[in-house]
Amino acid sequence: MKAGNGLKALNAGLLAFFAIFFVLPILTTVKGAFFGPDGSFSMEFVLEVFANPIYGEGLWNSLWLAAWSTVGCLVVALPLSLIYVRCDYPGRTILNTLMLLPMVLPPFVGAIGVKAMLGTTGSLNSLLSGLGLMDSSQPIDWLGHSQMLGIVIMNVLHLYPILYLNVAAALGNLDPTLEEAAANLGCPPLKQFFRITIPLIMPGVFSGGTITFIWAFTELGVPLVFEYDRVTSVQIFNSLRDLSGNPFPYALVVVMLTCTALFFGLSKLLFNPSATGGGGGGRASMGREIKKLPASTGTLCALGFLSVIMLAVLPHAGVVLLSLARDWYGSVLPADFTMAHFQGALGHELTLRAVSNSLKYASLATFLDLVIGIGIAYIVVRTRLPGRQFLDAMSMMPLAVPGLVMAFGYLAMSREGGWFHWLRIGEDPVVLLIIAYSIRRLPYVVRAASAGLQQVSPALEEAAQNLGATPMRALQRITLPLVAPNLIAGGLLAFSFAMLEVSDSMVLAEQTRHYPITKAIYSLMASLGNGPSLAAALGVWAMIFLGVTMAGASILLGKRLGTLFR
């Protein structure tokens, strides 16, 4: 299709947007890591990260956390996705939908519940001493000794859906005749799995694994709630207090970014599509026959799914209990229930402002996402403009760049005396937060919009132009209505994730009156009195909210919801 000047301008504008709000923050951070306060180049800050035992340990811990979280996700996701794609068992469809539930349950909120249950005076210890298995005067500090384990478990329970979706999609796309050909040539079923199936779904496993690894590597909320400061993400967060002139936070961020980029590049190199002959297992040339399991095995499978889901929901059930408890101390379950915290949460000065702040930031960010997302999708799908592949790749990059790095970059970019200081209107982070939120969640909107545009034949738009509609009118009357479900779904996802964005909020909102929900929850938790209960109540409100929007998105997108997380 011929590209008009308007489209060319849009293309240039979008590229500029990415240059300023994606590349520049990263570059500023990188520069800060290599140039001291006096402006001289130096490698010493970055090298110091590796030399300093505290930073070194943090980095090491982050890597281990990420590795174990990814392994854990794989152990959960691989067998379950295999069963889902190949077999029929009771409740198959509903269980598959519920498997995605953890995506809507913010792990950082869940961690509050875990603390309530696993703390020294929590449910588990009360249960153990009640059963006479533990001396109540010498409680076991579960989280103290094994904070790492707690964080890994929270990460696994939150992130396994990403791998589950990716592997299930890879298995679903695998042409069944590729396995049949192996069977035909004398290969028994189990061996087929290892010689044919596993190598062919490797790209799917790795693309899911990469996202999981990076997510866990840079996770900030969960370790913060667990008060575990020996990981890089928390160290960066803590060092933000003395940003001016201190190059170490920059150096830490750069090291984190480099690790992420290395891992991302490595996985692309090792498991790029061409390494498996292009397109992995290709498109299925025929439908796969789903095996009907006998009642006993089928029930067992369903129970397997159910227990994973229950486990994933457990921390959040803890949050709900905490929010309902009048007093929960040294007992298995709260002794007395009350709705007061919900009212309290809505009445509290901090929370009310936080909710309205979040709504403002998130809706503006979503609007920005939709405008940019439609623009990018249109240019990528419908035009041959130069730079469109670059634009396409760029719009997916935020998935690979840790939120913490971006947040840090914005902070560095808008420092006093810099070109972009005006972005902080007074001390109000509203512009920065909106841009940060929207860049972070842009990939979902772009994916949703491109998927929609690809399904709408350009001939429909051409027919409208043929009948006298201007290109803009044709877009407005024909194409946009047809892709509306995709746009709404992508927008809902972007919105709900923005509402619960952790790293940007923690870093960029510095004053109480600008706190969004997540930072309000965090600061409530640290406060005395009924703070934790209020935090839990606020968390429950957030979960309800997120659940409703996700349900809406999944209804609109149907089965394609999964494609947004790949």
């Binding site: 005749t177 049949e180 050909a181 069977a183 292009g278 040339s285």
Partner: protein
């Protein structure tokens, strides 16, 4: 190299019966075709023979052995898939070697056999290529080498040529037939392309709606279709309704009264003896009609040219005949075109080319 017997095979998917009491005898070393429109059950039948489906009832024998419940990897068949099903993560050599490795053939022998197999399909030197680097025709040859290198006892082909262009298809036809005969393979070939079946097959079965309509040699099935479906599926034909008249004096022939006059033909199949007054259909192939003189037949049509289509090797006429009957006829190697000018022409057809079908 075994014979294959299929006994009363029935398969239902959901509520639809895809195979309905199918029975077939396929002889050792013959290239047998399963032919039919899409959805007729031919691929399903082939996949039963390969072992990918288990029948709801019925049996399959390879020689004397009942293989109905033998899993696919123990059947020792070689299959060519419509999509080729070449593994993208393995190169050409590895694809071809796969079946030999599964049979624990020693490594040195595998190398040798793979090289021979690739040479056989004229792909020598391409062993290290990735599948994605091959053209469609080359991929097809890899699939052929992969299926044949294991010297299967049954060679199964599922529309293997449907993704190739016309010229390659012709080339591969003779290639596949040559290899089948060279190795003495019992081959079962699924296709919806009747020309392919006529050109390559020793025998063929026409299927429709999950049932076998007719089994026979290409010429038998083309010239003596068992019913209207086979007559129409195997090629262009003129179907003329009529009523059986008085028995004819000559052995095995019957006169049928039609709108275009009385036509004499023979019934389809030995078990069909038309009785006077029965409603029947006549099937006459366009190329059986001629403007020339045919001795020994009373069958004449009179009509004029309604339209003419010139196709190079033939010309096809649409003829308007008496009684509102329209006939398609084709003339080979035409020297001139007859104009649709209303001139009455005579067409004749031998009694051997008129088939009486049940109605």
């Amino acid at each position: 190299m075994v014979s294959i017997s299929i006994l009363n095979l029935t398969k239902r998917f959901a509520r639809q019966t895809v195979l309905n009491q199918v029975s077939l005898e396929i002889e050792q070393g013959e290239l047998f075709f399963l032919l039919g429109p899409s959805g007729c059950g031919k691929t399903t039948l082939l996949r039963h023979i390969a072992g990918f489906y288990e029948p709801d009832s019925g049996q399959i024998f390879f020689g004397p052995h009942d293989v109905t419940n033998v899993p696919p990897h123990e059947r020792h068949t070689g299959m060519m898939f419509q999509s080729y099903a070449l593994w993208p993560h393995l190169n050409v050599n590895e694809n071809v070697a796969f079946g030999l490795e599964e049979r624990s053939v020693p490594k040195s022998e595998i190398d040798h056999m793979v090289r021979d197999a690739l040479e056989m399909v004229q792909l020598d030197g391409l062993g290290k290529r990735r599948i994605a680097q091959l053209s469609g025709g080359q991929q097809q040859r890899v699939a052929l080498a992969r299926a044949l290198v294991i010297r299967p006892q049954v060679f199964l082909l599922d529309e293997p040529l449907s993704n190739l262009d016309a010229k390659l298809r012709l080339e591969m036809r003779s290639e596949i037939r040559r290899l089948c005969k060279q190795f003495g393979l019992t081959g079962i070939y699924v296709t919806h392309d009747r020309e392919e079946a006529l050109a390559m097959g020793d025998r063929l079965a026409v299927m429709d709606g999950g049932k076998i309509m007719q089994v026979g040699s290409p010429m038998e099935v083309y010239r003596h279709p068992a019913n209207q479906m086979v007559a129409e599926f195997m090629g262009e034909t003129n179907l003329i309704p009529g009523t059986v008249g008085r028995p004819c004096s000559r052995e095995g022939l019957h006169d049928v009264e039609t709108a275009a006059g009385v036509i004499r033909g023979r019934p389809s199949g030995d078990d069909f003896i038309p009785v006077q007054g029965q409603q029947v259909l006549l099937s006459i192939r366009p190329e059986a009609l001629t403007f020339g003189l045919v001795g020994d037949t009373p069958n004449r049509f009179f009509g004029h040219v309604a339209s003419a289509t010139y196709l190079g090797s033939t010309v096809q006429y649409q003829m308007e005949c008496a009684g509102g009957v329209t006939l398609k006829m084709s003339e080979l190697n035409p020297m001139f075109l007859r104009e649709p000018d209303g001139e009455q022409l005579r067409m004749m057809v031998s009694t051997r080319d008129v088939v009486i079908l049940r109605r």
